[in-house]
């Protein structure tokens, strides 16, 4: 990589990382109650329990942390999927990976499995996500035009949504069928530190697995034969990317529900800035995803008068028009 490129990359990463930190602070400062932040910090440090310290530590910090972690996972997964499937429309929410992850998490939660064995919840999400990515790869990974993946994804999304609704309706708990809104529309509200602790390890593991796949993704963009001839063990690379995506997205969805379009918008906006190289896109996408989710979450709280809007609704309002534009411009390119 040329020194100029490396400098540009570092500048981009620094800018994004700085924005993430600022947004983390802003997120901790945003909420229903005007919280005196510094006194609250002081109380936490002194080990005293007051309403202010409880709100900061048990409500705002988990929300901010989870926003960054989930955003990073979704952005990273989007970039990785687009590299693996060589399809600019690939994104965990759009192609049904998040949807099936939600189904897996719902089954784990409402059958009472998660109550007996806490890790059942993220594991359910991961299992669902894995099944989805594997299925998509089998259906539309190797050949087919750009849109065959989207079609397969739509079918998978519909099925996942229906299965989730069915599972919730079958639950004997009267609240279950109302909770579909949380699972399908996603939310960071009132999450706790336990949930952060539950979801963070699989997400971090997913990130680690993806971190070393940059050069493989670069090679794949030249075509499978070229990549093979460059010495990459394609089945292993594919399995690694699939597992990593499943881990990161599955764990995220298990604690926040489906938050869509983050993995679509962020890599597309950042791709020109990294010279269109898939490998260089990974880390910026992670940071960019964190920025998008944190910013959206702050916006939701600032706009709220009564109950908050669900986060997935806001990302969909931003992402769906973007998606339409992308589809249209790609068809124009194809024609």
């Amino acid at each position: 990589m040329a020194p100029a490129e490396r400098r540009r990359d570092r500048l981009l990463l620094a800018l994004l990382a700085g924005t993430v930190l600022l947004l983390l602070l802003a997120s901790a400062a945003t909420g229903r109650v005007s919280l005196p932040l510094l006194p609250a910090l002081g109380e936490i440090a002194a080990g005293r329990t007051t309403p202010a310290s409880i709100i900061l530590l048990e409500l705002r910090v988990p929300r901010a942390l989870l926003g960054a972690l989930v955003g990073a996972s979704l952005g990273l997964a989007g970039a990785a999927m687009q590299g693996l499937l060589r399809n600019p429309l690939a994104e965990p929410g759009v192609v049904g990976v998040s949807g099936l992850a939600a189904f897996g998490a719902v089954v784990a939660f409402y059958t009472g499995l998660a109550a007996r064995f806490t890790y059942a919840l993220p594991l359910g999400g991961i299992a669902g996500a894995f099944a989805a990515v594997a299925l998509l790869y089998a259906l539309a990974g190797r050949r087919g035009g750009l849109l065959s993946l989207v079609l397969a994804g739509m079918a998978l999304n519909s099925m996942a949504g229906a299965l989730t609704a069915l599972a919730l309706n079958l639950s004997p708990n009267p609240y279950a069928s109302f909770e579909i809104v949380f699972w399908l529309m996603g939310s960071l509200a009132d999450r706790s530190l336990d949930m952060v602790a539950l979801a963070a390890p699989p997400m971090l593991l997913g990130w680690l697995l993806l971190a070393r796949t940059g050069s493989a993704l670069d090679a794949l963009s030249l075509g499978e034969d070229a990549a093979r001839s460059l010495g990459f063990d394609l089945p292993r690379v594919r399995l690694r990317i699939i597992m990593a995506t499943a881990l990161a997205v599955g764990a995220a969805v298990a604690v926040t529900g489906v938050i869509g379009f983050v993995g679509l918008v962020v890599p597309h906006l950042l791709r020109p800035l990294v010279g269109y190289r898939p490998g260089r896109l990974l880390l910026p996408s992670a940071l960019g995803g964190a920025v998008l989710v944190l910013a959206s979450d702050i916006a939701i709280r600032l706009l709220a008068t009564g109950p908050e809007l669900k986060l997935g609704v806001l990302t969909a309002l931003l992402g769906a028009p973007f998606f339409f534009w992308l589809v249209v411009s790609l068809r124009r390119e194809e024609a």
Partner: protein
């Protein structure tokens, strides 16, 4: 002269027979709350059907009794098949069945939903008369009022501990409702009695923790079967803010309907208030 006592006796027997003939024999109740009252007041052979919700023990205090009575799902077909001679409805009656009842000209008794404890007593008496069971109604009302009388009188407003009802999805119940009347009778001030809260308002978790009421009232007892709503009640922020002494559980089924079980809700809250100790005591 000899015929007059006979005529008198005939007249008296006819008059005495009237109430028995007017007593409905096939009562159908279309609403969870009217189910409770009908099950409490009517003789089992008078009841033709109650709604299937009455068999759900989380919502209905008389679920076991309801299991021994035919249940309907609110459809017009079932109403016709039940051959009702009296249809009792509340505010949330099954629309389909109600329309059919009116179309067939069946007698329909509409009960409203009282929001005061006195209103409950009046409604019991009114329904008892309509069902031809005034004695049972009087007994039920007497036991209801006695339970309330046996409780200690509520302290004056300045000394009342502040309490908040936190329901699933962060809703709370405000002034002008049955829950509010229960709070008052139990000697609690309702957090939701603010300047800008409606009868049913959204209470964000942050705000609940910030305003730190003395007592947190929740409606769910256990985690089985699991739901996100129930999980919220065990959120670390709530556990840290409200220790066991500052929590009270009032199962939904006690006050979801305005009936005699409401007295049990008042009893639970009074016990919780007394367990709090002095208003500005140990937290």
């Amino acid at each position: 002269m000899g015929r007059r006592p006979l005529l008198l006796a005939l007249l008296l027997s006819v008059l005495a027979a009237e109430p028995a003939a007017a007593r409905p024999q096939r009562i159908v109740s279309l609403d969870l709350c009217t189910d409770q009252l009908v099950l409490a007041l009517a003789a089992p052979e008078q009841i033709a059907a109650v709604s299937w919700l009455a068999r759900d023990c989380t919502l209905s205090g008389r679920c076991e009794q309801a299991a021994g009575v035919p249940a309907h799902h609110g459809t017009g077909e079932e109403l016709v098949a039940a051959e009702a001679d009296l249809v009792v409805v509340g505010r949330h009656a099954a629309r389909g069945a109600l329309a059919v009842a009116r179309a067939r000209g069946l007698p329909v008794l509409e009960l409203d939903s009282p929001v005061t404890l006195d209103g409950i007593g009046e409604q019991i008496m009114r329904l008892g008369d309509a069902l031809g069971q005034p004695a049972r109604a009087a007994a039920l009302m007497a036991s209801f009022e006695q339970r309330l009388k046996d409780l200690p009188a509520p302290p004056p407003p300045p000394l009342r501990p502040l309490a908040a009802l936190y329901q699933a999805h962060g809703t709370t119940i405000g002034p002008g409702t049955l829950v509010d009347s229960v709070f008052r009778r139990a000697g609690l001030a309702n957090l939701a009695d603010g300047a800008d809260t409606a009868a049913r308002g959204y209470l964000p978790l942050e705000e609940l923790v910030w305003r730190a009421p003395d007592l947190l009232v929740v409606e769910q007892e256990g985690a089985d079967p699991p739901s996100l709503a129930e999980g919220m009640l065990r959120h670390p922020a709530l556990l840290a803010s409200f220790g066991p002494a500052r929590r009270a559980v009032v199962p939904q089924r006690l006050w979801i309907c305005a009936g005699p079980d409401v007295a049990l809700a008042v009893e639970r809250l009074v016990a919780a208030r007394l367990a709090l100790g002095e208003p500005d005591g140990a937290r």
